[in-house]
Structure formats: structure tokens, C-alpha cells
């Protein structure tokens, strides 16, 4: 086995092109488990810890956040908790302090597990994945990134450079069901975002289909009902039954299996409940805030519900 440790982004891309079978390792919280248990013997490891460009996040002129693939969950929580509340809520539920200190959003995408906790939040926020190789850079919506269980659109010579996320114009929520609070892989999870600026609703389903996926029909339904009743402007209470119907439609977008963590039926039920609650909580927040939630530059505000 080789240990390749590039020290710049350009060198990392050249190294990946020259060694397409090298396995990238960032926080190692997925990769090292596979190595320790002999589940994987890659020809080489490609250490990304020494690539400074990956450890940075920045804010573009239009306010968009570019989150380097190597930024850890702990830093998302500490530095972007107020700016990207949905992602920060998901990050708080990941593993344990030690795991959050190493684990990265880029690694979560790279692993492409249907249970990855950042995915529902990124889906609901309409985030994009910036993918690069020596051939160039392409930008893929998160919803198009996953192609199957632990599979993604990444080509062998490509690396994930960053995630691009527009800070929300409205409230976001993240819900996760597990057997206890800490150190839990989701039985199912749900990300939700109100986008009053675009009059849209963002959704993300975790652990209830072969890939993380949005619930576009449910989202369009809810956004349409809000529009038809003039609720985006009036900020009146949600009509009776609307959140419940939304939950039902989110459930219909899932395709879970029975496994050791939970049955398909339980996952479907949990999803409908989480979606109803997330929509209700987010709407309550929208009704009481100034419509500029999360976009106030205050990076330390708690986003807990």
C-alpha cells in the first residue's frame, strides 16, 4: 500500500489522476473502520488532511457559502451554526465529539451512505457539490450526486472540492430517529427548509431509500398550498391537516427496507411524523421571525428547535 500525502489542491488532483485507485482519506471515520476490519485494502491511501484549500470555507459576494470538503462537523457547528442552521443541526447529531472533530461533510458525501446525516440537510437547502479533477471542475446538485447505495457520480480521477450552499432565507429543520441520542446511525432522518424568497420548500429524506433523496412532489404540494392561500405573505397559521398531508406525501416518496436498525413500516411512519413536525416547527419560526432567519451573520446562534 502507498501513502500519498499531497500538500496542495493542485497536487491532490494530479495525484488522484495518476493513482485513480487511491482511496481518499479525510477524517478517516469511515475509511479507517474499513481498514481496521480488513473490509478494504486499497492500493493506496490519499491523505487529504494536508491540503489547505479543503479545510477552508468562504462567503461569496452573493452570500453563498463555499464549504471546503475537509471542514469538520465541529467547525460547521462552531463557525456556521447560525449561517447554515439545517446543516449544523444535522452535524450536532453525528456520532460523538471525537467523531465530529474529525468527520467531514466531504467524507459524508464521499461515503454516500443512504444514512449520511448531512445529506437530508444539504438536499433541503438545494446545495451543490463542486467536483474537480485535472480535467476541470463540475457542479452537481446534491439531489443528482447519489447514484445508489454508497455510490455517487464521482469518477475515479475526481475529488470533492466543496459544497456550495445558499444561506437560507427561511427556517430550516433537521429530524433524526435513532435508538438513543449519541452515536447513532439514523433509522430515518428528514431535512426541511422553507425558502420564502423562491416560494419553495426543500426536503431531504435519509435512511429510507437506496440513496438520500428529496421528496419533490410533497415539496411542490406544500409550496403550492402556501402560495394558493397567500400564506407566504400573511404568515397565518397552517390550515388544519396541511402538515399532516405533507407528511403523508413525504412518506410516499420513500422506499425503505427492513434492516437491523428498523423495519420499513416503522421508517415510513417515522418519516411522516418527522415531516409533519419539521414543517410545523419551521412554519412557526417563519411566523414569528423577520423572514431573514439564519442570514444575519451571527454564526454562533443556536439552531436547536
Amino acid at each position: 500500500m502507498d501513502f500519498l500525502a499531497p500538500t496542495s489542491w493542485a497536487e491532490a488532483l494530479e495525484t488522484k489522476a495518476a493513482h485513480p485507485d487511491a482511496l481518499p482519506v479525510a477524517g478517516g471515520t469511515d475509511v479507517m473502520v474499513e481498514l481496521n476490519f480488513d473490509h478494504r485494502r486499497p492500493a493506496a491511501l490519499l491523505d487529504l488532511n494536508r491540503v489547505p484549500e479543503l479545510q477552508e470555507w468562504s462567503r461569496a459576494d452573493d452570500g453563498r457559502i463555499r464549504l471546503g470538503a475537509g471542514v469538520t462537523y465541529s467547525r460547521v457547528i462552531a463557525e456556521l451554526g447560525g449561517t447554515l442552521p439545517g446543516l449544523a443541526m444535522a452535524a450536532r447529531t453525528v456520532g460523538s465529539p471525537q467523531i465530529r472533530n474529525r468527520g467531514t461533510v466531504g467524507g459524508n458525501l464521499g461515503a454516500a451512505s443512504p444514512a449520511g446525516d448531512s445529506h437530508p440537510a444539504l438536499l433541503a437547502a438545494f446545495a451543490e457539490v463542486e467536483i474537480a479533477s485535472v480535467r476541470g471542475t463540475r457542479v452537481v446538485p446534491v439531489a443528482d450526486f447519489f447514484t445508489g447505495v454508497k455510490r455517487s457520480v464521482l469518477e475515479p480521477d475526481e475529488l470533492i472540492a466543496a459544497v456550495r450552499i445558499t444561506p437560507p432565507a427561511g427556517p430550516q429543520q433537521f429530524c433524526k430517529i435513532g435508538t438513543r441520542n449519541a452515536m447513532v446511525i439514523a433509522v430515518s432522518a428528514f431535512g426541511f427548509a422553507l425558502h420564502p424568497d423562491r416560494r419553495e420548500v426543500g426536503t431531504g429524506i435519509g435512511s429510507a431509500a437506496p440513496t438520500p433523496r428529496p421528496a419533490p412532489e410533497a415539496a411542490a404540494f406544500l409550496a403550492g398550498e402556501l402560495e394558493a392561500a397567500g400564506l407566504w405573505d400573511s404568515r397565518s397559521p397552517l390550515p388544519e391537516g396541511l402538515a399532516t398531508e405533507f407528511g403523508r406525501r413525504v412518506r410516499d416518496a420513500a422506499a425503505p427496507i427492513d434492516d437491523v436498525r428498523g423495519s420499513a413500516a416503522y421508517r415510513l411512519h417515522a418519516l411522516s411524523v418527522m415531516a409533519r413536525r419539521a414543517a410545523t416547527w419551521a412554519w412557526d419560526a417563519y411566523r414569528t421571525d423577520d423572514g431573514n432567519d439564519g442570514n444575519d451573520g451571527n454564526d454562533h446562534r443556536s439552531a436547536a428547535a
Partner: protein, 155 residues
């Protein structure tokens, strides 16, 4: 391959490191530092917790090569000379140790917590120790020890 790193303030080298080997393995088997324990090798138990450039991590999930040139602190580095660290002393006094296998990890997590937050609430203690498992004590004595260490540290 060879790796060079600083462990507990001392420059160390290890030879014949396998490229896929964990920092935990290198510390225990190549650098003679068996304080960090190997109980799960999958990040679940926290008994291998060390500081990597000051941040608590599971050393079983860090590739040894990733620690090249960096600073590692293990439980062996907690005490000053012959003096136990106040956190270690509190674990002894409160009976927070039974078999002791989890203890190094709890010490590292507790020390880190108290450095960041000298007066943690019980929920904050539980959250900070969520990545450390103990199968003996039932945790009550460990919580006692953390509270006691906080009281001493603050004085």
C-alpha cells in the same frame, strides 16, 4: 514507511509503519505508549482518545501517516512530573475506575471539556463524554469525578 511526530512534547520516530495502520497501533506497538486502549477500533468506545494538535480524536480512526509532523498528546502526557493531573486525581478519589480500560479515554475527554468549559452543567458533561463508553461503573462515579475535577480546577 517512517513517521515522525511529537508525542507528549517529545519528538518521536517510528519505522516500518504500515501505510494503513492506525495512530493507535503506532502509539501502542511502535512507540511503547500502551495508555491509549484498543477496545473497538471503530470509533464507538473512545478508549483510544488522544489529542491531535490539541483536539480530542479517536486514534484508532487516524491513519498513522496522517499524524506525520503533528502533535499528539496521550494519557501518558497528562501528569506533570510525579503529580497526577487534577482530573486523574479526581477519578482515583471518586472511585471512577473499575477495570480501568475506559479510563484513559474518559480522562482525555474530561480534561478537554474542563479546558473549554471549567464549570460544565450535567447535560454538558454528558454531551462531552458521549463518545466514551464504560461497561463497569454505570457512569455515576465518573460523573462525580468530573464534577470534583471541575471544582478543583476552578479553585
Amino acid at each position: 514507511m517512517r513517521i515522525e511526530l511529537t508525542v507528549n512534547g517529545t519528538r518521536r520516530e517510528a519505522d516500518d509503519v504500515w501505510e494503513g495502520e492506525s495512530l493507535l497501533y503506532a502509539l501502542r506497538e511502535r512507540l511503547g505508549l500502551p495508555g491509549s486502549k484498543n477496545a473497538c477500533e471503530q470509533g464507538e468506545c473512545g478508549s483510544c482518545t488522544v489529542y491531535l494538535d490539541g483536539t480530542p480524536v479517536c486514534s484508532c480512526l487516524v491513519a498513522a501517516g496522517q499524524a506525520q509532523g503533528r502533535e499528539v498528546t496521550t494519557v501518558e502526557g497528562l501528569r506533570e512530573g510525579d503529580e497526577l493531573d487534577p482530573v486523574q486525581q479526581a477519578f482515583v478519589e471518586k472511585g471512577a475506575v473499575q477495570c480501568g480500560f475506559c479510563t484513559p479515554g474518559f480522562l482525555m475527554s474530561t480534561k478537554d471539556l474542563l479546558q473549554r468549559n471549567p464549570n460544565p452543567s450535567d447535560p454538558e458533561i454528558r454531551e462531552a463524554l458521549a463518545g466514551n463508553l464504560c461497561r463497569c461503573t454505570g457512569y455515576e462515579k465518573i460523573l462525580d469525578a468530573v464534577r470534583a475535577a471541575a471544582a478543583v480546577t476552578q479553585r
